[in-house]
Symmetry: D2
Subunit: 440 residues, 4 copies
């Protein structure tokens, strides 16, 4: 390769400066010479704001990366080496509905593995499958690196509903868990290793090592007892019952609170919806503020306020992954990829989130211990949800969508599922062509 | 064998006349010559009432079956051919607590796969493992046929925590589903066949055949549309959303309402708790009435009122099973037995409820289709619950009990789980020696 | 159904009178009213001889079965209920080559799981796939019951290379093993039950029961020590080392001698080739004699000489199977069908030979113990051979054919494999259109 | 750790100077400060010769490694960090018998996966299990790194017949294959990566990459066509049929010639046995010459002649492995370890030879493609052989030994197996206490 070509779909996202910063930092080892930021008509203004900032950043850093802004996806994809996707169909307004509508029925929306995630999947999957079709034509050797949530469901859909195999789902949750442990232990992050296994936003740290020595049970004990299991910017920290975590024996991710502290999380979301707004609404404000900052023609670095946005370490995760593929580094990173027997309780051909060796040929899952018996059921349930949701997104089948909604562990009954489903279908009508070309 | 020896542990149960009637009817093909009814000191009075009725029944029927009543389990077990267990540790009072305590916290008790089932398991498993030890000594070639709930968890415990392999868990739910379909279709039951697979009280009818012709989707459609999916005496019939069942594609069991109609079931239980009492309390009254009837020295048949008790077809299931083992009939019956790969999404060595060929050497599961993707997760979750609950019952480990309670799909958080657990441990103290010999 | 329609492809086979006799005997329970015997132009004379005998047989028996003779396969298949296949592409001359050519290179031909079987498969599979295409059109609800060897490979090919699912492979080896055990024990056959598992001509009796009581190790010990493991008409009985069978712990089938007594079997085949001729040549003589008998217009029953032909119990196996499907008997019979996890060491979707419950919907494998570790490897090796051979038959790929030949356990090297392959390809040229339309 | 303690059992081996050289080279990153060379009384003289050379080598290299020579295994093991085993029970005389006796019966001896390997296993396994017992006492945190053949069977035995989990089997075959490919392509070895999977001496290169780009089919084609598949010092290069390798699609290891070129290998071994002697006899001469060299008090480096001995890259493999564990390098190396689902067609708990990430906690297999269908059978057969051989070594069960011998793919019949077994048991009597304390 003579310089790497990156295409970022949803390039007008507020996250883009993170990515740009990451490529700048790594320029010597990862010689990116073109970054194409792609967006749709409705996102044109943001694309230009972010794109201009990106151009100022590379200029300031004095690296020979060319930034291109375009609304023409096909042209952008031509001969791409890596395509990253971080778009949001229906934007934050749609996400706000994903969160608000279920709440009306006393149900957490949850934009990835909950009813909200179902609709985010229904809107996103047809688009990602279109992107994949364009890639088959324009850049058949590229890697697709997807950040768009629900990242597990989207990866599952690409793996099972297209012929595209070079897809990797990426999430900042595992890296966040590692940072959290490092902070708690007051050691540098590189001294901590965690064996990750599970699904996206449903991942567990099976073993925690410090300087290569296993310290899992000790760390778990101290973290829960001091109520320091930590969380992320976007998830309230309600702690854990120490006895529960001790018996569990593995480190849960922040999103597990939705399933193991459902009532408390629901109460919290209800309160927030009234006081500060749902997460989408909070993010909307943050983003508006960020874009105000981005407009400043004197700004030529990533503004520190971006880190509050909840996407901490995204750039780190993405650039590390691309770097390891490009340079065949064979280091270990947690990503979403095809299971192939690595986790015995999940179907062979499904997407899992797991520590992998990252090679030029992509990620290869590492065999680790089985998931604890205690969580195999919940993990399977979310996988069942993801699989049926993906099938429904592709077929536009109303009954399957109801089935996915009903089996979601956050949804308390088929009847409530139906009410939520019907209201959400109506609300998201414009973004669900597979459903509204068909008879319900 | 010269005449078969049956031992029934919990012989003072109100169900016993059903069993006696079953053995009387089948005497020609299944020559039982001894039935030992065993109970504990606290059950002595009931044992005598039921035992006297049993004696009058065999006399009236003029079959040479000897009925023995005893409190000495070991003596009774000597050289037994079949041991049936239908005891209830702590009796209906304990069950009432299993139902009432979770309700205080807004949680369904559910005496098999819910928090109530956890405690019924914790009380029952140490006793069944003791029985198995006695059987190893007294009747090493006998079959243990367990009716005591939670039948799945109890079978799991015997399979994984003892060396006894000749154990079968039995339930009247599958036979009830078959009868329900036959009634709906207005055909004789023997013309209906259903392929059953899943777990106890979490079993599905994968295929429904009438006269050997598959009619699953047609029957499902008509049953849900006419709100005739039916239920059992003890579970309120709240119907199903037709679209949900259509997408599911298999026949759920009545207990699935707890998981797919949780909120509505909870509301219903709360109402009942106030109006008619919990199920245990209703049953208590029914039983008191039954025992009044049983006392009548002129009664020498099973009184028809027994069928309201909820145990319809129990005798049918038990006697059919014993008959098929004794006579090596190789017919097909749904029972709880070791999985051995029959259901791929459940561990190889765990108990499943599945259609089996019943032979002299016991049940052999029949390979059928996989469980639908939509339910693999929930079924796994209940299996995870059963496994950890069984482990906790054996070890008396508080943390594991909390883990089991927390992962139960009816329980909304670790903190609520802990409150329920603590209150129930205290309430059932006298029946939990494994927990109260140890430090919590 | 108003009377059953049977179509027998390869109807001019010397086995046909067996089948006819079977249907006559069962007429009351299995009301066959049409049997269509189909053959090709080259087999017309035999078809007429056998067909006339068949007509005399039904007349003599006074049952209203209509016998039709035809060379028009499509017409015959119209609305068939059961299609049995017992044809031989290239007739006994081809089989003689299957046996003779490998012998020239010091290799056993073995018409099913050896080099001979590879070629029999290459000739047969394209034809069976054509038949299946005709069935899709003419009789989409019929069952295909295949006797044509190599029955395992042929079933594998239909399962994996067509959309036809209603296929069952049938063999008389398991029933022969059961008869052998019954004879040895001097009990009536119905008192013996054997759990069969493995592949076609590579099947094991995992457990032997007499009157429902397991007697496996005792029977094995006595049979091997008295050198009475028995065999079939077409396989020389070389006995077994008692210590070997004792450690094996299961009953091998007669064909296992090819793999566990390779050198002795080879010597024997070499001798026979010189003295009495190969098996095909012996059979040729027997068949000529049989057809002479069949021509006798006074003959109106199956002549007893047919039993020497090696196909003992074929009629029994076929008619029992059809009867159990038609009458939904749910009894247990060993057949070749899709594995679906019944034998863990064989791929889920591959054909296995295993005891099944026979229902109106077809065979359902019964879960039994795993194959002994000692034979899992050999069984897998034959399955690998069958799979690659089937793939090669469909694609006409020379390299795959060489691969299949080389991995066969009877073939000692890639170079010898190549020589045998090349000579056999040339010899069977006329029956291998997939290979000779293509460039080698 | 303050300096690493290495214990080498079989320290008097001619390979030892390789190891010493490896530790000297890596001293800066792998600070070994003690190497204990342990041998038995019969090996005392060699131990001293080799030990003295080792001492001269460290002195010459000026590294602070202390060399200890001892016959007291327990003392040596005290607080060891790594224990390497490279002993040979019965020495080369025993190996010569492993090779000669089968040849008398027309069977290849093959010291790892053949009849010779069975006996090497029977002699070695009781000793390794004794070593493990000593390690439990003396150095419970050490890693056992076994080079002693048959390395797969020995690893299997430790995994399944002891409680010791920190065991790794090591072989120079994969590294040899990598070197061979690099030589053929004329590139530096570090530019070649191969995904290895299979069993010891039965391993395949599933994918070959040069500079991170897959070139498997191209390399295979060119290698076979130019007859350059290469082999090892101790295995004759008979080439491969190009069509066979093309259809196989993966790189076989040199030992595969025993199974896919059996007749030719047998002829070659017979010739050698007459002309130059069996491999053991050749090695004996080489070793005698080496020990003559080692005695030279002026020699203080590893003599170049050692490389002819067949153990090329052993030191490289061992020192790299120890280095990666000690330094938690997380690089990829092929080793023998527990499968845990990495290769689906091999039992979960069995030993496999597979590319692993090497961490401080040991090797973690990487998920790769399944083994090609064509070889799953043969690989399973060798695994069956290894498992039964290991069981027999532990129990001293004659019948199991016969079973292992009979199912070996090199052995043509149960009767020949019995003859070879009986003669070998007699010949190795002194080293088979498990067999000769018992009744045969």
């Amino acid at each position: 390769m003579n310089g790497i070509k990156i295409v970022t779909i949803g390039g007008g996202s507020s996250y883009t400066p993170e990515l740009i910063e990451g490529f700048i930092k790594r320029y010597d080892e990862l010689p990116v010479n073109e970054i194409w930021l792609v967006d749709i008509e409705a996102g044109k203004e943001k694309l230009e704001i972010v794109g201009d900032l990106a151009k100022r950043m590379v200029k300031e850093a004095n690296v020979p990366i060319n930034i291109h802004l375009t609304l023409d996806r096909k042209e952008a994809l031509k001969n791409a080496d890596f395509v990253t996707t971080q778009f949001r169909v229906g934007q934050l307004e749609a996400r706000a509905k994903d969160e608000r509508i279920p709440l009306e029925y006393g149900v957490i929306g949850q934009e990835t593995n909950g009813p909200g995630g179902l609709f985010k999947g229904l809107r996103t999957i047809p688009v990602i499958l279109d992107i994949v079709k364009d890639m088959e034509e324009q850049c058949p050797n590229a890697w697709l690196i997807n950040f768009t949530n629900p990242a597990g469901m989207v990866t599952e859909a690409v793996l099972r509903h297209s012929n595209w195999k070079k897809v990797i789902g990426l999430c900042n949750v595992p890296i966040g868990m590692k940072m959290m442990v490092a902070n708690f232990l007051e050691v540098e992050p590189h001294r901590v290793e965690i064996d990750f296994a599970g699904l996206n936003h449903m991942v567990f740290g099976l073993h925690i090592y410090v300087d290569g020595k296993e310290t899992t049970s000790d760390v778990l004990k101290r973290m829960t007892e001091t109520n320091s299991t930590g969380t992320m910017e976007n998830i309230v920290d309600l702690g854990w019952e120490p006895s529960f975590i001790e018996a569990l024996g593995v480190l849960p991710c922040p999103y597990h609170r939705y399933y193991f502290k459902t009532d408390e999380m629901l109460d919290n979301e209800k309160e927030n919806a009234v006081s500060s707004g749902t997460r989408a609404e909070v993010v909307k404000k943050l983003e508006d503020e960020l874009f105000e900052l981005y407009k400043d023609p004197t700004l030529s670095i990533k503004p520190p306020q971006l880190e509050k946005r909840g996407g901490a370490y995204y750039s780190e995760a993405a650039c590390s992954l691309i770097d390891s593929i490009y340079n065949d580094r064979r280091d270990i990173q947690p990503v979403n990829t095809i299971n192939r027997g690595a986790i015995q309780s999940i179907p062979y051909e499904s997407a899992v989130e797991i520590s992998c060796v990252i090679t030029k040929e992509g990620p290869k899952p590492i065999i680790m211990d089985e998931l604890p018996v205690a969580v195999q059921g919940l993990v399977s349930q979310i996988k069942s949800f993801e699989r049926i949701a993906a099938d429904s997104a592709v077929s536009g089948d109303y009954n399957k969508a109801l089935l996915a909604m009903t089996i979601n562990p956050l949804v308390p009954s088929d009847t409530i599922a139906k009410k939520i489903l019907n209201e959400m279908l109506e609300a998201h009508k414009d973004y669900l062509p597979n459903f509204f070309e068909k008879v319900q």
